[in-house]
């Protein structure tokens, strides 16, 4: 019996600058049996999404499916006529895209969009489709399945949208469902819930699924088979177990190595003397946006009384989910987002809240590296202009010296010197991020704020940037604040770690302490939500988010902020009182009622 889904000799081309055809997918073959989950894994540009879309005989603008065969059941997909494709897409094969927030039409209700496929293909009556959608909502563990469909996309969260999109894909009972990076845009704690929901639905319905991802650990949880792609060609294909345990291809091995957490810093640097002021010290810093009231506090507070210290030459990691205020914290320190209250001291000298009131030397000493190097670097400027600018601005050195210094800085970030004359737009993502770092280093700062610097990069490239940061730390006497949502990245380069939840420090301490035992319930949830690179982890892990809302009448500022998601909350204490900040058994400062309540 032949496989349910068969792809052979698939080739996709784009037209180049001079009209020539460039192959972006080249001779790709794979097959999947009915009910199997097959993963396409690779970094950006590997052609994984292009291949997934080709399964629906769809190519984005400029791309052409130029050769190959795709069979799904008895249908030869690439031979379908235009008219037949209208009946095929969505009906026999359906698609879940990476960013649910963008893939939902903002001006139509969720229910209308979920049942649209069923209506287009006249699969059932409107009311039958609605009740089927509601059934799917509840099996995907969505809250209020009866009414969630009446909302508009902007009214529900990203994790919910991603599951609603899965319902949209499954409403037509397709033969094959394509999941294209469905959890990449989500926080780890949300990702785990979505993965569970997907896995359950796919298993129960016996759907054949194509799972596209760059993340081996996630794929290990979901897939029966793995196809490893690079530059549009298959590097390795096989059963998940075999690929994970004994990768035969060099590239797969590199992917595996990058996915495994490793320690990049050896020892914690001690401050030179006890009396010296810390390099950077934040005391009760609050910040927010909106109208400022009589006390000088903004209407929406993002940061609540954050305290932290960074010693010279050490690295502080700040971790938290999206919306927790970690980027605001970096911007507040840099003076881009003025603090509403509290003090920021550099070497014991208070800094003005807004950068326009700081001295040029103070500006030089605090540098920031943004998440997205694509937008942080002017694409029309050359590398030398970008890196040379802070040299001229802060040091006012001559053109000759600038030229020499730029070459040194490029060597420091491990880029060839001849890159200096190229424009930023011509560089790869990893190269741009190195230029971004070089630009910050050019000012010879005391502290560099790195805001999610590896998030937009592929695993292998991101790991190389982490190595670079660890090395710079060793060689130069620069302190870093490393902000990330990825706890393994933070652990691998930081001396101290601060866990931020809803704008509050919920746990703060040395890196080793985080391995020493349980800390704040939120930290534990974060740690246990990071997928491990082995099969069966999803079933075993204890990480669960159970939503138990509290009485709305209580002012959330007066109780624990994590209370509605806490798996170990004590009713009567956690939902009525503000938690104390105590030294926990693992040696960390923890904002929680628990150890106190137990004793």
């Amino acid at each position: 019996m032949s496989a349910h889904l068969q792809v052979s000799g698939l080739e996709v081309t784009v037209s180049g600058e001079h009209g020539e055809r460039i192959r972006i997918v080249d001779d790709v073959n794979f097959e999947a049996n009915k009910g199997e989950v097959l993963a396409l894994i690779g970094e950006s540009g590997s052609g994984k999404t292009t291949i997934a879309l080709a399964l629906m005989a769809y190519a984005r603008r400029g791309c052409t499916i130029s050769a190959g065969q795709i069979r799904i059941g008895d249908t030869s997909v690439l031979e379908l006529s235009r008219e037949q494709l209208f009946g095929f897409r969505g009906n026999r094969v359906s698609y879940v895209s990476q960013s649910a927030a963008a893939a939902f039409n903002p001006s139509k209700s969720i229910m209308d969009q979920v049942i649209e496929t069923a209506m287009l293909h006249k699969l059932s009556s409107k009311s039958a489709a609605r009740s089927k959608a509601i059934e799917l909502f509840s099996s995907l563990a969505l809250p209020n399945p009866e009414t969630i469909g009446n909302h508009y996309p902007h009214q529900v969260s990203g994790g919910q949208l991603q599951r609603l999109m899965a319902a949209m894909a499954l409403i037509s009972d397709p033969d094959v469902v394509i999941l294209d990076e469905p959890t990449t845009a989500l926080d780890v704690t949300t990702q785990i819930e979505v993965l569970r929901a997907f896995k359950k639905v796919v298993r129960n319905r016996g759907t054949t699924a194509i799972y596209v991802s760059h993340d081996l650990s996630v794929v290990a949880q979901m897939a029966d088979k793995i196809v490893v792609l690079k530059n549009g060609t298959v590097r390795e294909a096989g059963e998940t177990m075999q690929v994970l345990d004994a990768p035969s291809d060099e590239y797969t091995q590199a992917l595996m190595a990058a996915a495994k957490p490793s320690l990049r810093v050896e020892s914690l640097k001690k401050p030179d003397s006890e009396t010296e002021a810390a390099l950077l010290e934040l005391r009760d810093v609050s910040a927010g946006f909106g109208r400022v009231d009589a006390d000088g506090m903004p209407k929406f507070t993002i940061l609540h009384d954050v305290n932290l210290t960074v010693e010279r030459g050490t690295t502080l990691g700040i971790i938290g989910e999206s919306g927790c205020g970690k980027s605001t914290l970096a911007r507040t320190i840099a003076g881009l987002h003025p603090a509403a209250a509290g003090s920021i001291c550099l070497d014991g000298v208070p800094l003005a809240t807004h950068l326009s009131k700081r001295t040029r030397d103070q500006l030089r000493r605090v540098q920031i590296v943004f998440q997205n190097a694509d937008t942080a670097l002017n694409p029309a400027h050359t590398v030398e202009q970008v890196v040379g600018r802070p040299l001229v601005f802060y040091k006012g050195i001559s053109a000759d010296e600038t030229h020499k210094r730029v070459a040194e800085l490029l060597a420091q970030v491990k880029l060839p010197v001849d890159i200096a004359t190229r424009r930023c737009a011509e560089l790869s993502g990893g190269q741009k991020q190195r230029i971004n770092l070089a630009r910050a280093l050019a000012a010879e700062p005391d502290i560099i704020l790195c805001d999610e610097v590896t998030s937009a990069l592929d695993t292998v490239v991101g790991a190389a940037i982490l190595d670079l940061i660890a090395e710079l730390r060793r060689e130069l006497d620069v302190a870093f604040i490393f902000i990330s949502h990825d706890i393994s990245a933070v652990r691998s380069v930081c001396d101290d770690i601060l866990v931020l939840y809803s704008g509050r420090t919920v746990e703060f301490g040395k890196r080793e302490n985080f391995a020493a035992g349980p800390g704040h319930p939120y930290t534990d949830l974060l740690v246990s939500s990071v997928p491990e690179l082995r099969q069966g982890w999803l079933e075993e892990t204890s990480a669960r988010t159970i939503l138990r809302p509290v009485d709305n009448a209580v002012d959330v500022d007066e109780i624990c902020a994590f209370v509605d998601r806490c798996p170990v909350r004590l009713d009567g204490i956690c939902d009525t009182k503000r938690p104390p900040r105590l030294i926990h058994a693992n040696g960390n400062e923890v904002l929680c009622h628990l150890p106190q309540a137990e004793s």
Partner: protein
């Protein structure tokens, strides 16, 4: 919430109109020439001029005259024409309905046409259809309207003798007569406004067609017409109505060339006459009507954009 936004917007519109009235009044007061002097001509003695100035209230300070004028404007009486000695209200009353008729007919033809052209060329982007529509709309903008009108008169009125060369509308005209009378002026004005609206519609719809949710709709098996009309267009309404409002607001004051060529008694030619004869009350009233109409169009466009935005409609 959305009502508050709309109310705020309307309030701003009224405030703007008030500012406009101040500007109109001060600028017309700055124009050279004295109305009393103008009325009496060269031979008038200073005594007679002074007496007339007294009569016309020209001796009062500016802010008093402004308030008197504003009060008259609000109560629907913008004064007496200095040239014809008739109430400005009556003069405008004869002309405004005619202008509104022409503008309304042009809007009724041009808006659907522009939307059709815009959406079609967006749907078939870069195809032969799109490129031809592109060339057609661009040449429509490029050709000046007096040329369009003149050629139309030569072809349809002089050579073919299908249509009258001047637009005279009698009160008891039949629909056929009306259509014949308005065909050429409406066509000429459409030439001016359709292109802009069509191109803005095309750009706005293409912007939406490039978004991931449209790709999603394609992958659901939706057909191009459904994608353009049900998915993309509702999200493009905001920019499209703004383009429409800006184009249509041209139809009252900008119709001067059409009014002149087809000898159509509209409000634009009335204002030009008021300028040449220094008939200030008439000029001010016309300017206020144009500004009011313009603000009204923009206001309606803004309200439509607010209401069509789901993020504002469903909090």
């Amino acid at each position: 919430m959305i009502l508050l936004l709309v109310a705020k917007r309307i309030l701003i519109a009224f405030f703007t109109l008030l500012l406009v009235s101040l500007v109109v009044f001060s600028i017309t007061s700055l124009l050279p020439g004295d109305a009393a002097q103008e009325l009496l001509g060269q031979s008038a003695t200073p005594e007679i001029v002074a007496e007339l100035r007294e009569q016309l209230g020209l001796n009062q300070p500016g802010h008093i005259r402004y308030l008197v004028w504003l009060k008259g404007l609000l109560s629907g009486d913008p004064g007496i024409s200095m040239v014809s000695d008739m109430p400005v209200r009556d003069i405008i009353g004869q002309r405004l309905p005619k202008s509104l008729m022409l503008a309304g007919l042009t809007a009724a033809v041009s808006v659907p046409l522009a939307l059709l052209i815009g959406i079609l060329s967006a749907m078939y982007r870069d195809s032969r259809l799109d490129r031809s529509l592109n060339i057609v709309t661009l040449s429509m903008i490029a050709v000046p309207e007096f040329l369009v009108a003149t050629i139309a008169v030569i072809v349809f009125a002089v050579q073919l003798r299908w249509l009258p060369s001047i637009t005279i509308v009698s009160p008891d005209a039949t629909f056929g007569e009306l259509a014949r009378a308005f065909a050429m002026p409406v066509m000429t004005l459409c030439f001016v406004v359709v292109a802009q609206m069509a191109r803005m519609t095309r750009a706005a719809v293409i912007n939406q067609l490039d978004s991931p949710y449209v790709e999603m709709a394609i992958l659901k098996g939706a057909r191009p017409t459904r994608i353009a009309l049900r998915h993309a267009f509702p999200n493009a309404i905001g920019p499209v109505v703004n383009a429409i409002a800006l184009s249509l607001s041209y139809l009252l004051g900008g119709a001067i060339i059409v009014e002149t060529i087809f000898n159509y008694p509209g409000i634009a030619s009335l204002m030009v006459n008021a300028v040449t004869s220094r008939d200030m009350p008439l000029l001010q009233a016309c300017a206020m009507i144009f500004s009011g109409a313009y603000l009204m169009m923009v206001l309606v466009a803004d309200i439509v954009a607010i209401v069509s935005n789901p993020k504002l409609r469903h909090r």
